[in-house]
């Protein structure tokens, strides 16, 4: 546990240092963005001083860490909005979208993967494989507008984009979920096919268990480990914000906020977003480890 905590803080500190350095190395700074090109040198220097940007980098970083330790993420340089206020709406939006996308991915991907594995080598397997490969090859900037055209414009069932109605989450979630389901289908099929050839499956069948019980209780459980890994990795990516999907669907999540802050050189917002993303990854990794132990008893003592 102690080594895990040490690893956690090391990762977070590394992320903080790297983000801080990288954002300051990129050309352009917030003063230029805020004052434009007509401002005098005196005005620029005055604003740099006000924002603390005239301090040595190490001093700026120390100030940032000190504030962070006191729970102060700072405020947006451009809009003056406290970052905690921004996060109150942006982060839950990303979490909602991530969870629903993952749910769709799992509901579609795992059953299809099981089905393909059970029909391995037959035409049903070929169809599932072709569909999943096609789905995984579809970029979200193409799939998103197609789903909008069909479900919003032609059928009129769902809103095109935005966050005004509860149903507005469905299309972005489907856009992300379809891609995930394709990956999960392939992973489930491969993993299950390996397990289905194991001796313990033959034993289970020999004991007279029903095929459903063999698949669900024995084979699928044993095949879950790589699926859990994929789910963990994908969930981390989803929580990090899915910039293109959020942009297309006008979904005010953390990914859009991060990209917009980088464009505007809004250092405090960028740093806070990257910190949130890093924390998400660390937490998801931790949860994935727990899931491993639940799925595979051998790992509880590892």
């Amino acid at each position: 546990m102690i080594s895990r905590l040490f690893g956690f803080f090391t990762v977070i500190f590394g992320v903080l240092v790297l983000t801080f350095l990288l954002i300051h190395l990129v050309p352009g700074d917030p003063v230029e963005v805020m004052l434009g090109e007509s401002a005098s040198m005196a005005d620029r220097e005055a604003l740099r001083e006000q924002l603390g940007l005239n301090q040595p980098l190490i001093t700026q970083f120390g100030t940032y860490l000190n504030k962070l330790a006191h729970g102060d993420l700072g405020q947006s340089i451009h809009t003056k909005t406290p970052i905690t206020e921004l996060f109150k709406t942006r982060y839950p939006a990303s979490v909602q979208l991530a969870l629903l996308s993952m749910l769709i991915g799992l509901l579609v991907g795992v059953p299809l993967g099981v089905y393909a594995a059970l029909k391995a080598g037959r035409w049903q397997d070929v169809v599932v494989t072709v569909v999943s490969v096609r789905l995984s090859a579809m970029p979200v900037f193409w799939l998103g507008p197609i789903l909008m055209l069909v479900f919003a414009v032609w059928l009129g069932w769902l809103p095109v984009s935005g966050m005004d109605e509860p149903a507005a989450i469905i299309l972005p979630a489907l856009t992300l979920g379809f891609g995930l389901s394709a990956i999960l289908t392939r992973m489930t099929r491969t993993s299950l096919l390996e397990v289905l050839n194991e001796d313990f499956i033959r034993t289970a069948r020999a004991k007279g268990l029903s095929e459903r019980a063999v698949i669900v209780r024995h084979a699928l459980r044993a095949a879950l480990l790589p699926i859990v890994t994929i789910v963990g990795l994908q969930m981390g990516s989803l929580l990090a914000g899915t910039v293109i999907t959020e942009t297309i669907f006008s979904w005010d999540g953390i990914g859009r906020l991060l990209v917009e802050s980088i464009e505007k050189r809004d250092y405090p917002v960028t740093q806070a977003c990257v910190l949130a993303v890093a924390l998400s990854y660390v937490v998801i990794n931790f949860l994935t480890d727990i899931a491993y132990r639940l799925v595979d008893p051998r790992m509880r003592h590892a």
């Binding site: 090109e37 005005d43 005055a46 809009t79 507008p145 980088i262």
Partner: protein, 484 residues
């Protein structure tokens, strides 16, 4: 079995999407970029400035020839450094009920003079002091003579009492314009005071999605930032109206005049002759886009309608390059943003210039990096557009020797004593002719403006600089076109 609750939840979400919507009388406007800051002292982005024109009023406006005309106030030039402004009778009160007086004008500009993080503050550093004469009149005393001073007074007027209270104008604006602020969560909602018509502005970055929202009826109005193929598509739809207008926003290629190759006039002329602007305008620009020769359009009082167009002639371009002693192909780097239309234009320029022996390498950079590189002079060629330029001092700021960054906008580091003298004399025909001959910029076009709206939206058309002033008159009629 355990999946059932999830499936039920998903079904409920789907059903929620099928709910009957309540009647909505607001006019919905989908915009490419949301405003950032609605305090006119801080607003620099186009969306904020366009919204602020609706919420606030200014002392001065501009006529069709871009000459300053009275808006809230008339003025007298008492001396080269002394201007008197008198508020007109019956100006509208502020939205919080207080009347607008000269004290509010003074408070607005005084506050600008003490802010060190306001981008517009530099424009007013020449103000020595502001003196209140009476409730209707105030005097501006300048440090240096400035013939264009009235044209600078375009900051929306804020109420003095709220300035003193350090009110958050950025997020809760209070002005005396035709629209009052209502709310700003995910969308900005404004109320037209005349008839209480609500107008919402929602950011939808992707142009395809904006068009789909129009087709679905989720939005009533779009303006600008649409690729030409989408405009052409919409023009085939009888259910929507597409209106275009001549624009004044000037697109150009910037050149680094400190580069030993680009320093040579014949190389710059060759680049101008290597670009088939007519073909680009015809094929990939919206209607009403027109050729440009200098920053200000011909109808501007400091424009120049008599300048000849550089013809597309790749053979001549090659000859000019060879006469400059260039070994072909001439390798040049063109920097642009990641905007899809900009990148598309870059690839067209690349193909056209190849025929003239110019090997153009495209570097597409995120906006922050791109703009920083341009300002630092770290480029050979770049493409940008000047938006909303009104006063001829732009020529000085962009081409004057004393205006090189960080002191001004002369990003190409152009030095020309002849031009400096002409700028000093404010001889605009000669200035524009000199710039056109020396080509420190390669002029491209004034981009046409386009607005697309539902059939039932009336009394709206795009403005030449892309502003949204016509929201003051827009109406929704009773019948609505049905889209298929």
């Amino acid at each position: 079995m355990k999946l059932t609750p999830f499936i039920v939840a998903l079904g409920l979400l789907l059903l929620a999407g099928c709910e009957e919507q309540l009647p909505d009388t607001a006019i919905h406007f989908a915009i490419a970029q949301a405003p950032i800051n609605l305090d006119p002292r801080y607003a620099t982005d186009a969306a904020s400035e366009r919204v602020n024109r609706l919420i606030y009023q200014r002392l001065v406006e501009f006529d069709a020839a871009s000459k300053p005309t009275p808006s809230l106030a008339t003025w007298q030039k008492l001396s080269p450094t002394h201007y008197r402004f008198t508020l007109r009778n019956h100006v509208a009160a502020f939205h919080h009920g207080n009347p607008l007086t000269a004290a509010d004008v003074k408070a607005t500009y005084d506050s600008l003079l003490v802010l060190n993080d306001a981008p517009h503050a530099a424009e007013y550093r020449n103000i020595n002091h502001i003196e209140l004469i009476n409730a209707q009149t105030l005097d501006f005393a300048l440090t240096q003579p400035d013939a264009d001073f009235p044209a600078r007074l375009i900051i929306g007027i804020l109420p003095k009492d709220l300035i003193e209270q350090k009110h958050d104008f950025a997020h809760q604006p209070v002005g005396n314009g035709v629209f009052a602020f209502v709310s700003w969560q995910r969308r900005l909602t404004l109320k037209r005071l005349r008839d209480h018509q609500l107008v919402t502005l929602t950011e939808v970055k992707d142009p395809t999605v904006r068009v789909l929202k129009l087709m679905r009826g989720e939005t009533d109005l779009l303006q600008g930032d649409l690729p030409p193929e989408l405009v052409q598509y919409l023009q085939t739809k009888s259910e929507v109206q597409v209106k275009t207008a001549k624009g004044t926003n000037f697109s150009y290629l910037g050149l680094n005049m400190q580069n030993p190759v680009l320093k040579q006039l014949n190389v710059r002329k060759a680049i101008a002759h290597a670009i088939d602007r007519d073909a680009i305008i015809k094929q990939v620009m919206v209607n009403d886009t027109r050729l440009a020769e200098v920053i200000l359009p011909p109808e501007h009082y400091a424009g120049n309608a008599s300048l000849p167009h550089a013809e597309y002639n790749p053979a001549l371009a090659k000859q000019l390059l060879q006469s400059a002693g260039i070994t072909l192909p001439l390798k040049l780097v063109y920097k642009t943003s990641t905007d899809a239309q900009r990148v598309r234009l870059a690839t067209i320029l690349q193909a056209q210039m190849a025929k003239a022996g110019i090997d153009l390498e495209i570097r597409s950079l995120d906006w922050g990096t791109f703009f920083a590189e341009v300002k630092q002079g770290n480029f050979q060629l770049y493409g940008l557009t000047w938006v909303g330029i009104r006063t001829p001092e732009i020529y000085s700021k962009v081409f004057g020797s004393q205006f090189m960054p960080p002191n001004g906008l002369n990003r190409g580091r152009y030095q020309d004593a002849t031009l400096d003298a002409l700028l000093q004399a404010e001889n605009w025909p000669a200035v524009t002719a000199r710039i056109h001959t020396q080509l420190p910029y390669i002029p491209l076009w004034y981009e046409g403006q386009v607005a697309v709206m539902q059939k039932n939206i009336q009394q709206y058309s795009p403005q030449s600089d892309g502003n949204w002033d016509n929201l003051a008159s827009v109406q929704r009629s009773a019948t609505k076109g049905q889209l298929q």
